[in-house]
Symmetry: C2
């Protein structure tokens, strides 16, 4: 008998019919002898409707009251799911985040979970009931209702799994698992059976949308095994856990891409100590989420500084860039929204030299120009023209032996010996 | 500076526009120097939508999960109202029933308030904020969310007023206050400036729908002054408080009517001790809410027993009646749904003999036959044909000097001297 947490997103509980389907799935799992906890999001359309109501009464609603409002969405879902389970003759009990002791910091709208008190869940499981917990929400130590922000329900599920020491946290989604690349872009993309936390973090951070970065971080920090799988079938998905020898055989886990960022360049800034610090202090003050940074080699005591940032931050970033140009007596600034970031991710590249070289030559052979480069120990990212993103990702996917029909990796000698899955 | 609780029902907060109107009203009241607490219901349509969702997943949802579901309705309202107040530049904070310590018994769906911890409300008032509290909901000592059932938000408002020792609990509704009769039936009906708790309780129990019986009982038990008034204008409404000398001058506070009950008769039951006990034990077991009861004089050792009960209980009542007929070897039973109950209510009638006599002769003069009679020390009720209810109520309203243009009461000498408004 295992203790299992299952997380269902807004689409999975989007209609009464789907809620009943989730109920039957939970009951089937319990029938196997497992203790089952479900963490659910708001029904697909509900959060949008609540946001619309808020904007009808207030242009800039206080974060605390937004949390009060939005947290009702998950509360509706948990009650309906518990009812649907009762309708099938099985016993269930629903709990809000505050009721089940999901304690967060007081940062409304993007609170961080500090503690999950598992006793109430364990007590209900001990009574033979299926336990339903509202995702996305928590409570501060002084009783304020908070929400966790983007990806919050995934994080709730992982935190609950940690809190009750569950064997696995199953995250149900509309795809089968984690893929070596986005199948919409790369028809030959393969589902990964398993991936380590670090590689999954780099994948999530560089554009793979299937799992939220925060939930993977939480899982790594608390040793929670995630099983990312489809809510439409019973096929095994992708296991995310501590990397081991099996996984290390793969040099590259996947190729990701991200077209949500733009590139800003500040031109002709004086090349003296403190200049870069000033640029990025101003961006931080403007709440601009800077990702990759490059600074050109200095010519005549002046240089260019380029960086990428989410397009959603551009209004603030433009204003801050203008302030910086004035303050530094730089020449000008520019924005390029037609860029994409592509990344190679894999824990194996740590010990395999030549991956970067192979990446760059593959891109060159495919006629893709590289604009910016950034690396970590298990990731290499390049900024390229947005128009070439499909070409680039497919070329890398093939070059590193990730294609569907590849039995072993076709890594060039310079990149060390590799093995595909 | 006074401490004021204002309660707004589902219609008053039914749309974003109306929520903004309530926000402005609260702010205007605070500007007068008062500490203001608002208790609000769910937006008009929301509860029905939630009930519909529940019935789409479960035919007989558990009461606990219904409370989990329905309590979200008020939570949405409080958040939106707090936002609307912020939008006007004033500070507000919303609290759910559980947050503000509205402690109830564990009877889901119709919980009774046991305690209101006023400290959190008082703290927020002390910070100069308008406080918004969710009506209709509470929490058990072990943290289960409960709802209070019909009239729950009125009761929450009165309980909060008691908990923070407010000067007045203003209940906003779609009518101007408590009337001497239903204005739709009696064009000459007058609004009462004030009425005592006992008379208001009898009015509420005998058909005056403006205030919920439970909230008036709670107000009487805790000495809370209720001001029942319109949410569409600023006219003074009706004050409900401990009766005093001024109010006692009126013999009759009003004439109420109720067409929601039916009359059941069990015919030809043996007239022996324990028979009535058995009839009403069976009705109680069937959860039938029996109101008036009469038993005819015995003839040949057999008698008829008649009683009234809500039409909504009739399915259960019919079944119980058939069981009783079988068990007692009575002849038969019958139901009459074409009846109405009309009541004269007034604390003054305690000390004024002849009110009953005048009531009966007024009805006789109007050609209205009386079917059943029941009395309390401040109420006389008659069951009559439903078709005659308008005629009867208007005749009594005129006879007891309650008409709009009546300066002094026209009570006949036998009824003692009376005074109108």
């Amino acid at each position: 008998m295992a203790r299992v947490v299952q997380k269902y997103g807004g689409t999975s509980v989007g209609t009464p019919d789907r809620i009943r389907a989730v109920a039957r799935r939970l009951i089937a799992r319990k029938a196997l002898g497992d203790d089952v906890v479900a963490v659910v999001s708001a029904m697909g359309h509900v959060t949008d409707e609540l946001v619309e109501l808020a904007s009808a009464v207030c242009t800039d609603p206080p974060d605390r009251e937004m949390d009060m409002l939005l947290s009702t969405g998950e509360q509706v879902s948990i009650a309906l799911l518990a009812m649907a389970i009762h309708a099938e003759g099985e016993d269930a009990v629903s709990f809000t985040g505050p009721q089940v002791g999901i304690v967060t910091d007081p940062v409304h709208g993007k609170a961080k979970i500090q503690e999950v008190r598992g006793d109430r869940i364990l007590e209900a499981l001990g009574q033979g009931r299926i336990v339903i917990v509202a995702g996305f929400q928590g409570v501060t130590p002084d009783g304020q209702i908070t929400t966790l922000g983007r990806g919050g329900s995934d994080t709730t599920a992982v935190a609950v799994a940690a809190g009750i020491d569950a064997a696995v946290c199953e995250i149900y989604t509309d795809v089968d698992g984690v893929y070596t690349a986005d199948p919409r872009l790369v028809p030959a993309a393969r589902k990964l059976d398993a991936i380590g936390y670090e590689a999954m973090l780099e994948m999530a951070a560089s554009g793979a949308g299937v799992l939220q970065l925060r939930s993977v971080e939480f899982a790594r920090n608390h040793g929670v095994v995630i099983h990312c799988r489809s809510s439409f079938n019973d096929s095994p998905g992708t296991i995310v856990r501590e990397a081991d020898a099996t996984m290390e055989q793969a040099i590259i886990s996947g190729v990701t891409h991200d077209t949500s960022e733009a590139k800003l360049t500040i031109r002709d800034v004086p090349d003296r100590p403190g200049v870069a610090a000033l640029v990025f202090t101003r961006m931080a003050e403007a709440n601009v989420n800077v990702d990759m940074i490059i600074q050109n080699v200095s010519e005549d005591g002046r240089t260019d500084i380029s960086f990428t940032a989410p397009k959603t931050d551009l209004v603030r970033a433009r204003k801050a860039a203008q302030d910086v140009v004035t303050e530094l007596e730089a020449r000008t600034w520019s924005v390029d929204e037609g860029v994409a970031k592509i990344s190679l991710v894999g824990a194996g590249m740590k010990t395999h030299p030549g991956v970067a070289a192979q990446m760059f030559s593959t891109l060159a052979d495919a006629g893709v120009n590289i604009d910016m480069i950034s690396t970590s120990s298990i990731r290499i990212s390049c900024v390229i023209e947005a128009e070439k993103v499909g070409t680039a990702v497919r070329a890398l996917h093939t070059s590193f032996g990730l294609d569907d029909d590849a039995v072993t990796a076709e890594v060039s000698p310079g990149a060390g010996e590799g093995a595909g899955k």
